[in-house]
C-alpha cells in the first residue's frame, strides 16, 4: 500500500480554486521534490495534507496508508505520522521549547496508545538530537522560536522531526531565508532521517536545496496541478530552462 495517495485533489481558498485536480503517490522510503513557481499551489498542498483550517476541499481525496486523511483532525494526523516542517515556524512566547517538545511528543504517544516518556529519558533524547543539529541547550529553555534566527527556526523543525519520528515528512520551502551554511546543517539533519520506512515530500522553488537533499522523484507544479514528473535530473533541467515553459503548458 502506498503511504500517501493524493487523487484528483481540488481545493478552494475563499472563492478561488487553487488546486485543480492534483494527483501524487508517495511510497515509503521515497523522497519526492515538488517544484514550481510562486502561486502554483505548492504550499496549499502541504497545508491541506497537514489539516490547516481555511481550505475547502471540493473534490478528490487524500489517503494515508489507505485511510481518509481529510476526515482527521490535525493532531490525529500528527499522531499517525504526518509531519509538516513549516515554511515560517511560529514564535510562541511563554511556552518553553523543552516543555513544548515534551507536551507534543507525549500527546502523540498517548494518542497512539503508547506510554509517555519519562523525564530523564526524554531529556537525554532531546539533548542527543539537539547536539547533532548544533542546537545549544539554552535555546531549548527559551520560548518556542522566540528570538531564534531563520536558521535556528528551521533546525528546530528538524529537531522535532527527529524526535517525533514521523513516517511522512513534508518540508515546505525549507531553504527560504537560509544562507548556505544554515541550509547545509538543516539538510544534513534531514538526510540523517532518510530511511526505508519514511517518506519525504520536499517543496521548493529552487533547485539549490536538491543538491543537499537529493530526491528520487521530481514533480513540477503549475497552476494547481502536476504538469511533469521525472527523476532528479528534471530539477537540473528546470534550473537551466526555468518554469516559463510549464506555465504556458498549463
Amino acid at each position: 500500500m502506498s503511504l500517501l495517495e493524493v487523487k484528483n485533489l481540488q481545493v478552494r481558498v475563499e472563492e478561488r480554486e487553487i488546486l485543480h485536480g492534483l494527483s501524487l503517490t508517495v511510497n515509503p522510503g521515497e523522497v519526492h521534490a515538488i517544484m514550481g513557481p510562486n502561486g502554483s499551489g505548492k504550499s496549499t498542498l502541504s497545508h491541506v495534507i497537514a489539516g490547516k483550517p481555511g481550505y475547502e476541499v471540493t473534490g478528490g481525496e487524500i489517503l494515508f496508508r489507505g485511510e481518509d486523511l481529510l476526515e482527521m483532525a490535525p493532531d490525529v494526523r500528527a499522531a499517525k505520522g504526518v509531519f509538516l516542517a513549516f515554511q515560517y515556524p511560529v514564535e510562541i512566547p511563554g511556552v518553553a521549547t523543552m516543555n513544548f517538545l515534551r507536551t507534543a511528543l507525549n500527546a502523540q504517544r498517548k494518542a497512539r496508545g503508547e506510554s509517555e516518556f519519562s523525564t530523564p529519558d526524554f531529556l537525554k533524547k532531546v539533548r542527543e538530537v539537539a547536539a547533532s543539529l548544533n542546537i545549544p541547550q539554552d535555546m531549548l529553555r527559551r520560548g518556542v522560536n522566540v528570538g531564534f534566527s531563520g536558521g535556528e527556526k528551521k533546525r528546530n523543525e528538524v529537531l522535532q522531526m527527529a524526535l517525533f519520528q514521523p513516517s511522512l515528512c513534508i518540508l515546505d520551502e525549507m531553504d527560504s531565508g537560509l544562507d548556505i551554511d544554515a541550509l547545509r546543517v538543516a539538510a544534513d539533519g534531514v538526510n540523517a532521517l532518510r530511511s526505508p520506512d519514511r517518506a519525504m515530500v520536499v517543496i521548493t522553488h529552487y533547485q539549490r536545496l536538491l543538491n543537499y537533499i537529493v530526491p528520487d522523484f521530481v514533480h513540477v507544479m503549475s497552476k494547481g496541478r502536476v504538469v511533469k514528473s521525472g527523476g532528479k535530473e528534471l530539477a537540473l533541467e528546470l534550473e537551466a530552462s526555468g518554469y516559463a515553459q510549464f506555465e504556458d503548458a498549463a
Binding site: P74, D75, G143
Partner: protein, 438 residues
C-alpha cells in the same frame, strides 16, 4: 437617583440585620454607626454609579446576607481539610474562618523578632484611639468600604518593626465553611516600619459544600520608608460566592510594592484597591489576572494616586474569558500637580475564548503635572489561529493547544512573583482553572 426606592429595595433588610448584629461586633460603636449611615445613603451600588457601571451589585447580589454565625466544630473540620488547596510550604498561616480568626488553624508560634500579630477583635476591644482611627481610615464614600467598616467582625493586625526583613511569608487564608448562606466581614491591617520587608499572601477558599456566601474583605497596608512589600492574592472562592474586597495601600519614600492578584474562583468578585504614594522615589508593580468561565464575573478597579514626585507605577492586567464570563478592569491614574517626574504605565490584555465572553477595560488618566511619562494600552483578541494550528500539527488536541497558550499568557504575569513557592502556588491555581475547563 431615587434614594428612597434604593433604601426600600436593599437598605431595609440590612439595617435590621445591622441592628441585630451590632451587639456582636467588637468596639467602635460610634464609628460603625457613622459608616453604616454612609452605606445607607446609597445602599448596594448600581450601574448608575459610574464606578460600578460594569458591576451592578444591586442586580448581581440583590441583598446583603445576614452575618455568618460563629464557626462550630464541623466548620473547623471542613476548613482544616480545605486549607490544603492553597498550602504554602514555609509560610506562617493566619486563618479567618467564616470571618472569625481561627487560632487552632493558625500558626502564631515563635514570632520572628520585630513581628507582632493581633486579631482585629482584640485591637478594637482594646480601644486604642489612634489605632482605631487608622482602622477606619478608608474612605466611606465607597458604599462597600463603608459597609465593611460598619460590619467588620475580625481580621489580623500585623506590625513589622523598623529594620525587620522577614523571610517567612505571612499568609492570610479566608475560608468559608458555608453551612448556611451568610455574609462575612473582615478587615486586616499590615504596618511595615522603615527599612523593613515582608511577603503577604491573601488566599480566598471555600470548604467542601460551601456555596452562596458573601465575603466582604478589606486590607489596609502602610509601607514605611525604604521598605518592601511583596503581595500575592489568589481568589478561589466557590462558584456561587461573592468576594467584595477593598485595599488601601500607602507607600513612604523609596518604598517598593510588588503585587500579583488572580481571580479564578467566585461567581462575582470585585477587588478595588487604592495605592497612594506618600513619599518620593517609590515604585509599584501590579500584575493582575482574571480567569473566568461559565457566568463568572470579576472586576478589578485600581486607583493609582501619584501625590508626590519621582515615583513609578506599572499595571499589567490580563484576562482570559470563556463562555459568558465577564471581566472588568478599571484603572485610574491620578498625577497630582506637584508630582513631577512621575512614570506611570498601564496595560491590559484580554483573551476572549467564546463569542459571549466580555472584557471591559476602562483606563482613566488625570494628569495635573507637566513633566511626566504616562501611558496606557489595551489589546483584546482570540487565541492566535496560527499558533493553535502549529501546536495541533504537532499532536496537541484543540483543548491541549488552547491550554498551553493560556498557560503561556498567564505565565508571563505569574513570572512577576519573586518567591518560588508562591509562583508555584499561582501556577497550580491557574492549572486548576484550566483543568476544570477541559
Amino acid at each position: 437617583m431615587n434614594v428612597a426606592v434604593a433604601k426600600n429595595e436593599t437598605g431595609r433588610p440590612l439595617s435590621d440585620s445591622f441592628a441585630v448584629a451590632r451587639d456582636r461586633l467588637p468596639g467602635a460603636a460610634e464609628a460603625r454607626r457613622a459608616a453604616f449611615e454612609a452605606y445607607e445613603r446609597t445602599g448596594l451600588p448600581s450601574r448608575r454609579i459610574e464606578d460600578w457601571k460594569y458591576t451592578d451589585l444591586r442586580a448581581l447580589m440583590r441583598e446583603v446576607l445576614p452575618l455568618a454565625p460563629a464557626p462550630d466544630a464541623a466548620a473547623l473540620k471542613g476548613a482544616a481539610a480545605a486549607l490544603k488547596l492553597q498550602a504554602v510550604r514555609g509560610a506562617r498561616r493566619l486563618v479567618l474562618l467564616d470571618g472569625v480568626f481561627a487560632p487552632k488553624l493558625s500558626d502564631l508560634g515563635e514570632l520572628d523578632k520585630g513581628l507582632s500579630i493581633r486579631t482585629l477583635r482584640e485591637v478594637l476591644e482594646a480601644g486604642d484611639a489612634a489605632l482605631q482611627a487608622q482602622l477606619f481610615s478608608p474612605d466611606s464614600v465607597n458604599p462597600m468600604v463603608a459597609l465593611n467598616s460598619a460590619m467588620m467582625t475580625d481580621g489580623v493586625v500585623i506590625d513589622v518593626a523598623n529594620g525587620a526583613v522577614l523571610k517567612q511569608p505571612l499568609q492570610i487564608v479566608h475560608v468559608a465553611s458555608g453551612a448556611v448562606p451568610a455574609a462575612m466581614f473582615t478587615r486586616s491591617m499590615l504596618r511595615l516600619g522603615k527599612d523593613a520587608g515582608v511577603t503577604l499572601v491573601e488566599s480566598y477558599i471555600a470548604a467542601d459544600g460551601a456555596r452562596a456566601y458573601q465575603l466582604h474583605d478589606s486590607l489596609i497596608a502602610v509601607i514605611g520608608d525604604n521598605s518592601r512589600l511583596d503581595h500575592v492574592r489568589l481568589v478561589e472562592d466557590s462558584r456561587e460566592a461573592f468576594n467584595i474586597s477593598s485595599a488601601l495601600l500607602t507607600l513612604g519614600a523609596h518604598a517598593h510594592f510588588n503585587t500579583f492578584g488572580m481571580a479564578s474562583g467566585a461567581g462575582v468578585s470585585r477587588y478595588q484597591a487604592t495605592i497612594a504614594f506618600a513619599g518620593e522615589g517609590s515604585k509599584v508593580e501590579t500584575n493582575g489576572v482574571n480567569l473566568l468561565n461559565g457566568k463568572q464575573h470579576a472586576d478589578t478597579t485600581l486607583f493609582m494616586d501619584h501625590a508626590v514626585p519621582n515615583c513609578s507605577s506599572r499595571e499589567i492586567f490580563r484576562a482570559v474569558v470563556d463562555d459568558s464570563g465577564h471581566s472588568v478592569f478599571q484603572g485610574r491614574i491620578v498625577v497630582r500637580p506637584h508630582a513631577q517626574k512621575t512614570d506611570a504605565k498601564m496595560m491590559t490584555r484580554a483573551l476572549l475564548l467564546s463569542d459571549d465572553a466580555e472584557a471591559d477595560n476602562k483606563p482613566e488618566l488625570e494628569i495635573f503635572a507637566d513633566d511626566v511619562t504616562c501611558g496606557h494600552g489595551a489589546t483584546t483578541g482570540a487565541l492566535d489561529e496560527s499558533l493553535l494550528f502549529y501546536l495541533r500539527a504537532r499532536g496537541l488536541s484543540e483543548k491541549e493547544a488552547q491550554a498551553l497558550l493560556i498557560q503561556a499568557f498567564v505565565g508571563e504575569a505569574i513570572e512577576s512573583i519573586v518567591n518560588d513557592d508562591l509562583r508555584e502556588l499561582a501556577i497550580t491555581a491557574a492549572q486548576r482553572w484550566l483543568e476544570a475547563r477541559a
